[in-house]
Protein backbone atom coordinates (compact mmCIF):
# COMPACT_ATOMS: atom_id res chain seq x y z
CA UNK A 1 0.00 0.00 0.00
CA UNK A 2 1.66 3.27 -1.08
CA UNK A 3 0.31 6.59 0.12
CA UNK A 4 1.04 9.07 2.85
CA UNK A 5 2.22 7.60 6.14
CA UNK A 6 1.69 9.41 9.44
CA UNK A 7 3.24 8.99 12.87
CA UNK A 8 3.17 10.98 16.09
CA UNK A 9 3.89 10.11 19.71
CA UNK A 10 1.23 12.72 20.53
CA UNK A 11 -2.28 11.31 19.83
CA UNK A 12 -3.69 14.82 19.31
CA UNK A 13 -1.02 15.63 16.74
CA UNK A 14 -1.57 12.26 15.05
CA UNK A 15 -5.25 13.18 14.59
CA UNK A 16 -4.31 16.51 12.96
CA UNK A 17 -1.72 14.90 10.71
CA UNK A 18 -4.26 12.38 9.41
CA UNK A 19 -6.31 15.41 8.34
CA UNK A 20 -3.26 16.96 6.67
CA UNK A 21 -2.21 13.69 5.01
CA UNK A 22 -5.61 13.37 3.35
CA UNK A 23 -4.96 16.61 1.47
CA UNK A 24 -1.62 15.28 0.19
CA UNK A 25 -2.36 11.79 -1.05
CA UNK A 26 -4.25 8.58 -0.74
CA UNK A 27 -4.37 6.23 1.09
CA UNK A 28 -3.46 7.55 4.55
CA UNK A 29 -1.61 5.02 6.69
CA UNK A 30 -1.34 5.81 10.38
CA UNK A 31 1.67 4.17 11.99
CA UNK A 32 1.63 2.87 15.55
CA UNK A 33 4.87 1.72 17.16
CA UNK A 34 4.86 -1.19 19.63
CA UNK A 35 1.16 -1.84 19.82
CA UNK A 36 -2.10 -0.21 18.74
CA UNK A 37 -2.19 3.03 20.71
CA UNK A 38 -5.68 3.74 22.09
CA UNK A 39 -7.90 5.85 19.84
CA UNK A 40 -5.77 5.55 16.70
CA UNK A 41 -8.28 3.44 14.78
CA UNK A 42 -10.99 6.12 14.86
CA UNK A 43 -9.05 9.04 13.37
CA UNK A 44 -10.12 8.41 9.78
CA UNK A 45 -6.94 6.77 8.43
CA UNK A 46 -7.34 4.27 5.60
CA UNK A 47 -5.31 1.82 7.63
CA UNK A 48 -3.47 1.60 10.94
CA UNK A 49 -0.09 -0.04 10.48
CA UNK A 50 1.28 -1.51 13.71
CA UNK A 51 4.98 -2.26 14.01
CA UNK A 52 4.67 -4.82 16.75
CA UNK A 53 7.36 -5.19 19.41
CA UNK A 54 7.69 -4.83 23.19
CA UNK A 55 10.47 -2.22 22.80
CA UNK A 56 9.53 1.00 24.67
CA UNK A 57 12.06 3.25 22.91
CA UNK A 58 10.30 4.50 19.79
CA UNK A 59 13.51 5.67 18.09
CA UNK A 60 14.55 2.01 18.08
CA UNK A 61 11.85 1.40 15.44
CA UNK A 62 13.48 3.68 12.86
CA UNK A 63 15.11 1.01 10.70
CA UNK A 64 12.11 -1.35 10.45
CA UNK A 65 9.88 1.68 9.77
CA UNK A 66 12.28 2.87 7.05
CA UNK A 67 12.24 -0.61 5.49
CA UNK A 68 8.43 -0.77 5.52
CA UNK A 69 8.13 2.69 3.95
CA UNK A 70 10.43 1.66 1.13
CA UNK A 71 8.78 -1.72 0.68
CA UNK A 72 5.33 -0.10 0.50
CA UNK A 73 6.53 2.73 -1.74
CA UNK A 74 5.36 5.51 0.58
CA UNK A 75 5.04 8.96 -1.01
CA UNK A 76 5.67 10.71 2.26
CA UNK A 77 6.08 10.23 5.99
CA UNK A 78 4.49 12.99 8.08
CA UNK A 79 5.71 13.02 11.67
CA UNK A 80 4.47 15.15 14.56
CA UNK A 81 7.16 17.70 15.36
CA UNK A 82 7.92 16.62 18.92
CA UNK A 83 11.40 15.86 20.27
CA UNK A 84 10.96 12.12 19.73
CA UNK A 85 9.13 12.60 16.45
CA UNK A 86 11.88 14.74 14.92
CA UNK A 87 14.52 12.27 16.03
CA UNK A 88 12.68 9.26 14.62
CA UNK A 89 11.94 11.10 11.36
CA UNK A 90 15.59 12.10 10.81
CA UNK A 91 16.75 8.52 11.43
CA UNK A 92 14.18 7.16 8.99
CA UNK A 93 15.33 9.76 6.44
CA UNK A 94 18.94 8.72 7.06
CA UNK A 95 18.15 5.03 6.54
CA UNK A 96 16.10 5.73 3.37
CA UNK A 97 18.49 8.43 2.06
CA UNK A 98 15.33 10.55 1.87
CA UNK A 99 14.98 14.30 1.86
CA UNK A 100 13.55 15.69 5.07
CA UNK A 101 12.09 19.08 5.94
CA UNK A 102 11.70 19.60 9.68
CA UNK A 103 9.19 22.02 11.16
CA UNK A 104 7.49 22.09 7.76
CA UNK A 105 4.58 24.36 6.91
CA UNK A 106 2.67 25.16 3.70
CA UNK A 107 3.12 21.59 2.46
CA UNK A 108 1.79 21.03 -1.04
CA UNK A 109 2.07 18.27 -3.65
CA UNK A 110 4.47 19.29 -6.42
CA UNK A 111 5.02 17.01 -9.40
CA UNK A 112 6.42 13.77 -8.06
CA UNK A 113 7.06 15.20 -4.64
CA UNK A 114 6.18 18.02 -2.29
CA UNK A 115 7.15 21.58 -1.54
CA UNK A 116 7.22 22.96 1.99
CA UNK A 117 8.49 25.92 3.91
CA UNK A 118 10.56 26.10 7.06
CA UNK A 119 11.89 28.86 9.22
CA UNK A 120 15.65 29.58 9.47
CA UNK A 121 18.04 32.11 11.05
CA UNK A 122 16.08 32.31 14.28
CA UNK A 123 12.84 32.92 12.40
CA UNK A 124 14.15 35.79 10.24
CA UNK A 125 14.05 33.84 6.99
CA UNK A 126 11.71 31.37 5.30
CA UNK A 127 13.23 28.64 3.18
CA UNK A 128 11.13 26.87 0.55
CA UNK A 129 12.27 23.36 -0.33
CA UNK A 130 11.25 20.79 -2.91
CA UNK A 131 11.57 17.14 -1.98
CA UNK A 132 10.90 14.05 -4.08
CA UNK A 133 9.14 10.91 -2.87
CA UNK A 134 9.85 9.50 -0.33
CA UNK A 135 9.57 12.82 1.49
CA UNK A 136 9.96 13.01 5.27
CA UNK A 137 8.27 16.02 6.87
CA UNK A 138 7.85 16.94 10.52
CA UNK A 139 4.87 19.14 11.28
CA UNK A 140 3.89 20.99 14.45
CA UNK A 141 0.45 21.27 16.05
CA UNK A 142 -2.23 23.42 14.45
CA UNK A 143 -1.31 22.75 10.81
CA UNK A 144 -4.57 20.92 10.06
CA UNK A 145 -7.82 19.85 11.64
CA UNK A 146 -8.64 16.26 12.52
CA UNK A 147 -11.13 14.43 10.28
CA UNK A 148 -14.66 13.96 11.57
CA UNK A 149 -15.46 10.78 9.67
CA UNK A 150 -16.58 7.86 11.81
CA UNK A 151 -15.76 4.20 11.59
CA UNK A 152 -12.85 2.00 12.51
CA UNK A 153 -9.68 1.80 10.42
CA UNK A 154 -8.53 -1.73 9.60
CA UNK A 155 -5.34 -2.79 11.35
CA UNK A 156 -2.31 -4.28 9.63
CA UNK A 157 0.11 -5.75 12.16
CA UNK A 158 3.75 -6.45 11.30
CA UNK A 159 6.09 -7.96 13.89
CA UNK A 160 9.44 -6.16 13.72
CA UNK A 161 12.95 -6.51 15.13
CA UNK A 162 13.91 -3.19 16.71
CA UNK A 163 17.43 -1.87 17.30
CA UNK A 164 17.90 -2.61 21.00
CA UNK A 165 21.35 -1.10 21.47
CA UNK A 166 19.84 1.89 23.28
CA UNK A 167 18.24 0.71 26.53
CA UNK A 168 15.83 2.75 28.62
CA UNK A 169 16.92 2.64 32.28
CA UNK A 170 14.47 5.11 33.73
CA UNK A 171 11.74 7.53 32.67
CA UNK A 172 10.66 10.25 35.10
CA UNK A 173 8.06 12.96 34.74
CA UNK A 174 9.45 16.49 34.81
CA UNK A 175 9.14 18.20 38.19
CA UNK A 176 6.50 20.77 39.04
CA UNK A 177 3.72 18.90 37.26
CA UNK A 178 4.74 20.40 33.91
CA UNK A 179 2.24 19.39 31.29
CA UNK A 180 3.10 18.70 27.68
CA UNK A 181 2.21 22.00 26.00
CA UNK A 182 2.73 20.78 22.42
CA UNK A 183 -0.99 20.79 21.69
CA UNK A 184 -2.21 23.22 24.41
CA UNK A 185 -4.60 25.90 23.05
CA UNK A 186 -3.02 28.63 25.19
CA UNK A 187 0.42 29.07 26.72
CA UNK A 188 1.61 31.72 29.15
CA UNK A 189 5.35 32.36 28.83
CA UNK A 190 7.31 33.63 31.84
CA UNK A 191 10.34 35.84 31.24
CA UNK A 192 13.11 37.25 33.39
CA UNK A 193 10.85 40.27 33.97
CA UNK A 194 8.90 38.06 36.38
CA UNK A 195 11.03 38.60 39.43
CA UNK A 196 9.41 36.51 42.13
CA UNK A 197 8.83 32.75 41.94
CA UNK A 198 5.76 33.22 44.14
CA UNK A 199 4.10 35.06 41.23
CA UNK A 200 4.04 31.83 39.20
CA UNK A 201 0.91 30.74 41.09
CA UNK A 202 -1.04 33.67 39.64
CA UNK A 203 0.29 32.98 36.16
CA UNK A 204 -0.83 29.35 36.52
CA UNK A 205 -4.31 30.59 37.42
CA UNK A 206 -4.31 32.84 34.34
CA UNK A 207 -3.10 30.00 32.10
CA UNK A 208 -5.85 27.69 33.41
CA UNK A 209 -8.49 30.34 32.69
CA UNK A 210 -7.15 30.55 29.13
CA UNK A 211 -7.27 26.75 28.88
CA UNK A 212 -3.54 26.09 28.80
CA UNK A 213 -0.31 25.94 30.77
CA UNK A 214 2.81 27.88 31.68
CA UNK A 215 6.32 27.71 30.26
CA UNK A 216 9.22 30.14 30.18
CA UNK A 217 12.15 31.70 28.35
CA UNK A 218 15.58 30.03 28.31
CA UNK A 219 16.88 32.63 30.77
CA UNK A 220 14.27 31.71 33.37
CA UNK A 221 14.94 27.98 32.90
CA UNK A 222 18.73 28.23 33.11
CA UNK A 223 19.28 31.15 35.48
CA UNK A 224 16.38 30.64 37.87
CA UNK A 225 15.67 26.94 37.45
CA UNK A 226 11.91 27.40 37.90
CA UNK A 227 11.11 25.15 34.94
CA UNK A 228 12.76 22.13 33.31
CA UNK A 229 11.79 23.13 29.78
CA UNK A 230 11.74 26.43 27.94
CA UNK A 231 10.38 27.90 24.72
CA UNK A 232 12.84 28.73 21.94
CA UNK A 233 15.02 27.53 19.08
CA UNK A 234 16.68 24.87 21.21
CA UNK A 235 13.67 24.23 23.43
CA UNK A 236 9.95 23.84 22.90
CA UNK A 237 8.43 24.90 19.58
CA UNK A 238 4.75 25.56 20.28
CA UNK A 239 1.80 26.59 18.13
CA UNK A 240 -1.05 27.51 20.49
CA UNK A 241 -4.04 29.64 19.53
CA UNK A 242 -2.80 32.20 22.06
CA UNK A 243 0.71 32.79 23.39
CA UNK A 244 0.82 35.34 26.21
CA UNK A 245 4.37 36.50 26.96
CA UNK A 246 4.72 37.97 30.45
CA UNK A 247 7.94 39.83 31.26
CA UNK A 248 9.61 38.49 28.12
CA UNK A 249 11.76 40.95 26.16
CA UNK A 250 11.37 39.06 22.88
CA UNK A 251 14.74 37.80 21.64
CA UNK A 252 14.53 36.13 18.22
CA UNK A 253 15.61 32.76 19.62
CA UNK A 254 12.61 32.82 21.96
CA UNK A 255 10.16 34.09 19.34
CA UNK A 256 11.21 31.25 17.03
CA UNK A 257 9.60 28.84 19.51
CA UNK A 258 6.17 30.49 19.12
CA UNK A 259 6.38 31.59 15.48
CA UNK A 260 3.41 29.36 14.62
CA UNK A 261 1.20 30.72 17.42
CA UNK A 262 -2.04 32.03 15.92
CA UNK A 263 -1.99 35.05 18.22
CA UNK A 264 0.87 36.48 20.28
CA UNK A 265 0.04 38.80 23.17
CA UNK A 266 2.44 40.41 25.62
CA UNK A 267 2.57 42.12 28.97
CA UNK A 268 5.76 44.07 29.55
CA UNK A 269 6.73 47.06 31.66
CA UNK A 270 9.10 48.32 28.95
CA UNK A 271 7.20 49.88 26.06
CA UNK A 272 10.27 49.51 23.83
CA UNK A 273 10.60 45.76 24.43
CA UNK A 274 11.03 43.93 21.07
CA UNK A 275 8.19 41.58 22.03
CA UNK A 276 5.66 44.31 21.16
CA UNK A 277 6.92 44.48 17.56
CA UNK A 278 6.38 40.75 17.29
CA UNK A 279 3.03 40.52 19.05
CA UNK A 280 -0.54 41.07 17.94
CA UNK A 281 -1.68 42.70 21.17
CA UNK A 282 0.21 44.09 24.10
CA UNK A 283 -0.23 45.88 27.39
CA UNK A 284 2.52 48.12 28.71
CA UNK A 285 2.45 47.70 32.45
CA UNK A 286 3.69 45.90 35.53
CA UNK A 287 2.60 42.26 35.36
CA UNK A 288 1.98 42.32 39.13
CA UNK A 289 -0.97 44.63 38.62
CA UNK A 290 -1.97 43.60 35.06
CA UNK A 291 -2.19 39.84 35.69
CA UNK A 292 -4.71 40.08 38.58
CA UNK A 293 -6.88 42.30 36.38
CA UNK A 294 -6.70 39.78 33.53
CA UNK A 295 -7.68 37.02 35.96
CA UNK A 296 -10.60 39.07 37.23
CA UNK A 297 -11.79 39.82 33.70
CA UNK A 298 -11.63 36.16 32.66
CA UNK A 299 -13.09 34.62 35.84
Amino acid sequence: MSGVFVYSDSPKLAAELVGLAQTLGDPVVLVSLGQVAPGLTTLGATQVLVLKSDDEVIENYSRPLAELLQERKAKALLVGDTIRGRDLAARVAGHCRAGMISGASHIAPDGGGFTAQRSTYGGKLIETGQVEELAVLTVGAGAATPLTVGGESPIDEVTVETDRRVILIERADAGGGQADLTTAPAVVGVGLGVSDQADLAQLEVLAKLLGGGVSCSRGVCEERGWFDQYIGVSGLNLSPDLYLAVGISGQIQHLYGVREAKLIAAVNINKDAPIFRNADYGIVGDYRSVVPQLIAALS
Binding site: G94, S102, T128, D173, A186, N278, D280, I283, L294
Partner: protein, 257 residues
Protein backbone atom coordinates in the same frame (compact mmCIF):
# COMPACT_ATOMS: atom_id res chain seq x y z
CA UNK B 1 37.09 4.43 27.24
CA UNK B 2 40.29 5.74 25.75
CA UNK B 3 38.86 6.17 22.28
CA UNK B 4 38.57 9.67 20.86
CA UNK B 5 35.59 11.97 21.10
CA UNK B 6 34.53 14.03 18.08
CA UNK B 7 32.66 17.31 18.34
CA UNK B 8 30.93 18.29 15.10
CA UNK B 9 30.64 22.01 14.61
CA UNK B 10 29.51 24.41 11.91
CA UNK B 11 30.88 27.77 10.79
CA UNK B 12 27.75 29.87 10.26
CA UNK B 13 26.65 33.42 9.55
CA UNK B 14 25.72 35.28 12.71
CA UNK B 15 21.94 35.39 12.56
CA UNK B 16 21.99 38.83 14.22
CA UNK B 17 23.86 40.24 11.17
CA UNK B 18 21.49 38.91 8.52
CA UNK B 19 19.49 41.82 7.15
CA UNK B 20 16.16 41.64 5.34
CA UNK B 21 15.22 44.58 3.13
CA UNK B 22 11.76 45.94 2.33
CA UNK B 23 11.36 43.50 -0.57
CA UNK B 24 12.07 40.65 1.91
CA UNK B 25 15.37 39.81 0.20
CA UNK B 26 17.94 38.51 2.68
CA UNK B 27 21.33 40.20 2.65
CA UNK B 28 24.29 38.24 4.05
CA UNK B 29 26.95 40.61 2.68
CA UNK B 30 27.72 42.24 6.04
CA UNK B 31 27.21 39.13 8.15
CA UNK B 32 30.15 37.99 10.22
CA UNK B 33 30.74 34.27 10.67
CA UNK B 34 31.07 32.34 13.92
CA UNK B 35 31.04 28.85 15.35
CA UNK B 36 27.34 28.10 15.82
CA UNK B 37 26.44 28.99 19.42
CA UNK B 38 25.05 25.55 20.17
CA UNK B 39 28.14 23.84 18.76
CA UNK B 40 30.22 25.54 21.46
CA UNK B 41 28.33 23.37 23.94
CA UNK B 42 29.05 20.28 21.82
CA UNK B 43 32.78 21.17 21.77
CA UNK B 44 32.81 21.70 25.55
CA UNK B 45 30.99 18.38 26.08
CA UNK B 46 33.57 16.58 23.93
CA UNK B 47 36.43 18.23 25.85
CA UNK B 48 34.88 17.22 29.19
CA UNK B 49 34.10 13.62 28.17
CA UNK B 50 37.58 13.13 26.67
CA UNK B 51 39.25 14.57 29.80
CA UNK B 52 37.49 11.92 31.91
CA UNK B 53 37.91 9.02 29.52
CA UNK B 54 41.52 9.64 28.48
CA UNK B 55 40.77 10.00 24.77
CA UNK B 56 41.42 13.02 22.59
CA UNK B 57 38.72 15.62 21.83
CA UNK B 58 38.73 16.14 18.06
CA UNK B 59 36.77 18.66 16.03
CA UNK B 60 35.08 17.95 12.71
CA UNK B 61 33.48 20.51 10.45
CA UNK B 62 32.25 20.69 6.88
CA UNK B 63 32.28 23.97 5.08
CA UNK B 64 33.56 26.15 2.29
CA UNK B 65 37.25 26.99 2.27
CA UNK B 66 36.30 30.10 4.28
CA UNK B 67 35.42 27.84 7.23
CA UNK B 68 39.18 27.35 7.73
CA UNK B 69 39.18 30.69 9.56
CA UNK B 70 37.04 29.11 12.30
CA UNK B 71 39.42 26.25 13.03
CA UNK B 72 41.67 28.19 15.38
CA UNK B 73 38.62 29.37 17.31
CA UNK B 74 37.48 25.75 17.69
CA UNK B 75 40.94 24.65 18.83
CA UNK B 76 41.09 27.45 21.41
CA UNK B 77 38.00 25.92 23.02
CA UNK B 78 39.95 22.86 24.09
CA UNK B 79 39.95 20.53 21.08
CA UNK B 80 43.25 18.73 20.47
CA UNK B 81 42.99 18.60 16.67
CA UNK B 82 40.48 19.67 14.02
CA UNK B 83 39.40 18.23 10.70
CA UNK B 84 37.82 20.36 7.95
CA UNK B 85 35.94 18.77 5.08
CA UNK B 86 36.80 21.46 2.54
CA UNK B 87 34.05 21.90 -0.05
CA UNK B 88 35.73 24.71 -1.98
CA UNK B 89 33.83 27.88 -2.89
CA UNK B 90 30.47 26.73 -1.57
CA UNK B 91 29.53 24.08 0.97
CA UNK B 92 26.47 21.88 0.57
CA UNK B 93 23.72 22.56 3.08
CA UNK B 94 21.63 19.48 2.31
CA UNK B 95 21.34 17.21 5.33
CA UNK B 96 21.74 13.98 3.36
CA UNK B 97 24.89 15.19 1.63
CA UNK B 98 26.36 16.67 4.83
CA UNK B 99 25.71 13.65 7.05
CA UNK B 100 26.98 11.18 4.46
CA UNK B 101 30.17 13.25 4.11
CA UNK B 102 30.58 13.50 7.91
CA UNK B 103 30.14 9.72 8.20
CA UNK B 104 32.81 9.07 5.56
CA UNK B 105 35.19 11.49 7.28
CA UNK B 106 34.58 9.93 10.71
CA UNK B 107 35.63 6.56 9.27
CA UNK B 108 39.01 8.10 8.37
CA UNK B 109 39.59 9.59 11.84
CA UNK B 110 41.52 7.70 14.52
CA UNK B 111 39.71 5.44 17.07
CA UNK B 112 36.42 7.27 17.29
CA UNK B 113 34.30 6.21 20.27
CA UNK B 114 31.77 8.99 20.46
CA UNK B 115 30.47 11.74 18.18
CA UNK B 116 28.85 14.75 19.84
CA UNK B 117 26.70 17.16 17.83
CA UNK B 118 24.49 20.00 18.97
CA UNK B 119 20.75 19.52 18.56
CA UNK B 120 20.84 22.04 15.74
CA UNK B 121 22.91 24.88 14.33
CA UNK B 122 22.06 28.51 14.95
CA UNK B 123 21.51 29.17 11.22
CA UNK B 124 19.08 26.45 10.12
CA UNK B 125 18.35 24.44 13.28
CA UNK B 126 17.00 21.47 11.36
CA UNK B 127 17.69 19.01 14.20
CA UNK B 128 18.58 16.32 11.68
CA UNK B 129 22.35 15.99 11.71
CA UNK B 130 22.95 13.74 14.73
CA UNK B 131 20.02 11.41 14.03
CA UNK B 132 20.83 11.06 10.34
CA UNK B 133 24.53 10.63 11.06
CA UNK B 134 23.75 7.84 13.55
CA UNK B 135 21.61 6.12 10.92
CA UNK B 136 24.27 6.46 8.21
CA UNK B 137 27.02 5.17 10.52
CA UNK B 138 24.62 2.58 11.99
CA UNK B 139 25.74 3.64 15.47
CA UNK B 140 23.35 3.89 18.45
CA UNK B 141 22.16 7.47 18.86
CA UNK B 142 20.44 9.60 21.49
CA UNK B 143 19.29 13.20 21.06
CA UNK B 144 18.21 16.01 23.45
CA UNK B 145 20.97 14.93 25.83
CA UNK B 146 21.62 16.98 28.98
CA UNK B 147 24.28 14.80 30.64
CA UNK B 148 26.81 12.20 29.48
CA UNK B 149 28.69 9.69 31.63
CA UNK B 150 31.19 7.25 30.21
CA UNK B 151 31.87 3.86 31.69
CA UNK B 152 34.43 1.75 29.88
CA UNK B 153 32.85 0.76 26.59
CA UNK B 154 29.43 2.21 27.21
CA UNK B 155 27.61 5.45 27.76
CA UNK B 156 24.91 6.55 30.16
CA UNK B 157 22.98 9.65 29.12
CA UNK B 158 20.14 11.74 30.47
CA UNK B 159 17.69 13.05 27.94
CA UNK B 160 15.15 15.87 28.25
CA UNK B 161 11.75 15.51 26.56
CA UNK B 162 8.71 17.82 26.54
CA UNK B 163 7.37 16.57 29.85
CA UNK B 164 9.84 13.99 31.14
CA UNK B 165 13.44 12.91 31.55
CA UNK B 166 14.91 9.60 30.38
CA UNK B 167 18.07 7.82 31.43
CA UNK B 168 19.44 5.59 28.69
CA UNK B 169 22.41 3.27 28.29
CA UNK B 170 24.12 2.55 24.99
CA UNK B 171 27.31 0.91 23.74
CA UNK B 172 30.12 2.73 21.95
CA UNK B 173 30.76 3.85 19.30
CA UNK B 174 27.75 6.15 19.45
CA UNK B 175 26.36 9.52 18.38
CA UNK B 176 24.70 11.98 20.75
CA UNK B 177 23.07 15.38 20.22
CA UNK B 178 23.39 17.67 23.23
CA UNK B 179 21.18 20.53 24.34
CA UNK B 180 22.87 23.84 25.23
CA UNK B 181 21.98 23.40 28.90
CA UNK B 182 24.48 20.49 29.17
CA UNK B 183 27.29 22.92 30.06
CA UNK B 184 28.32 26.53 30.19
CA UNK B 185 31.59 26.94 28.30
CA UNK B 186 34.00 29.70 29.33
CA UNK B 187 35.35 32.09 26.74
CA UNK B 188 38.82 30.92 25.65
CA UNK B 189 41.64 32.70 27.51
CA UNK B 190 44.77 34.17 25.91
CA UNK B 191 46.81 31.04 26.74
CA UNK B 192 44.26 28.80 25.00
CA UNK B 193 44.13 31.12 21.98
CA UNK B 194 47.94 31.06 21.65
CA UNK B 195 48.09 27.27 22.16
CA UNK B 196 45.49 26.81 19.42
CA UNK B 197 47.99 28.11 16.84
CA UNK B 198 50.25 25.11 17.43
CA UNK B 199 47.54 22.42 17.31
CA UNK B 200 47.14 20.19 14.24
CA UNK B 201 44.61 21.11 11.55
CA UNK B 202 43.69 18.48 8.96
CA UNK B 203 41.93 19.10 5.67
CA UNK B 204 39.89 16.49 3.83
CA UNK B 205 38.80 17.41 0.31
CA UNK B 206 35.04 16.93 -0.05
CA UNK B 207 35.59 15.48 -3.54
CA UNK B 208 37.92 12.81 -2.12
CA UNK B 209 35.15 11.38 0.08
CA UNK B 210 33.13 10.14 -2.95
CA UNK B 211 29.83 11.35 -1.54
CA UNK B 212 26.73 11.70 -3.72
CA UNK B 213 26.47 15.52 -3.82
CA UNK B 214 22.89 15.56 -5.15
CA UNK B 215 20.74 17.39 -2.62
CA UNK B 216 17.74 15.42 -1.30
CA UNK B 217 15.91 18.70 -0.74
CA UNK B 218 16.22 21.42 -3.36
CA UNK B 219 15.99 24.87 -1.83
CA UNK B 220 13.92 26.88 -4.30
CA UNK B 221 13.59 30.17 -2.40
CA UNK B 222 14.87 31.97 0.69
CA UNK B 223 12.99 35.08 1.71
CA UNK B 224 12.63 37.29 4.75
CA UNK B 225 9.73 36.65 7.06
CA UNK B 226 6.88 39.07 6.58
CA UNK B 227 5.91 40.31 10.02
CA UNK B 228 2.14 39.95 9.98
CA UNK B 229 1.64 40.55 13.69
CA UNK B 230 -0.82 43.37 14.41
CA UNK B 231 1.50 45.12 16.91
CA UNK B 232 -1.41 46.82 18.67
CA UNK B 233 -0.12 47.96 22.06
CA UNK B 234 -2.40 49.36 24.76
CA UNK B 235 -0.32 52.00 26.50
CA UNK B 236 -2.83 54.55 27.76
CA UNK B 237 -2.59 56.37 31.11
CA UNK B 238 -5.24 54.17 32.75
CA UNK B 239 -4.15 50.56 33.18
CA UNK B 240 -7.69 49.29 33.79
CA UNK B 241 -8.74 50.68 30.39
CA UNK B 242 -5.70 49.09 28.75
CA UNK B 243 -6.63 45.72 30.24
CA UNK B 244 -10.27 46.07 29.18
CA UNK B 245 -9.29 46.95 25.60
CA UNK B 246 -6.81 44.10 25.51
CA UNK B 247 -9.45 41.60 26.70
CA UNK B 248 -11.94 42.99 24.18
CA UNK B 249 -9.39 42.55 21.37
CA UNK B 250 -8.82 38.89 22.34
CA UNK B 251 -12.60 38.36 22.47
CA UNK B 252 -13.03 39.78 18.99
CA UNK B 253 -10.32 37.40 17.76
CA UNK B 254 -12.33 34.53 19.25
CA UNK B 255 -9.33 33.52 21.36
CA UNK B 256 -11.27 33.91 24.60
CA UNK B 257 -15.01 33.64 25.12
Amino acid sequence: MSSNVIACFKWVYDEADVVVDASLTPDFSRAKSKISEYDRNAIEAAVQVAAKSGGMPLGLTLGSSAAASGLKDALSRGLAEVYLIDCGAEAPSDYRVVTEALAKAIKTMPEVGLVICAEGSSDRYGRQTASRLGAVLDWPTVTSVVSVETDGGSLKVSRKLEDSFETLALPLPAVVAVLPEINNPDLPGMKAILAAKRKPQHTLEFASLSVDATPAVTVTAVTGLQNNRKQLVFDGPDEATNVAEFIEALRKEGTIS
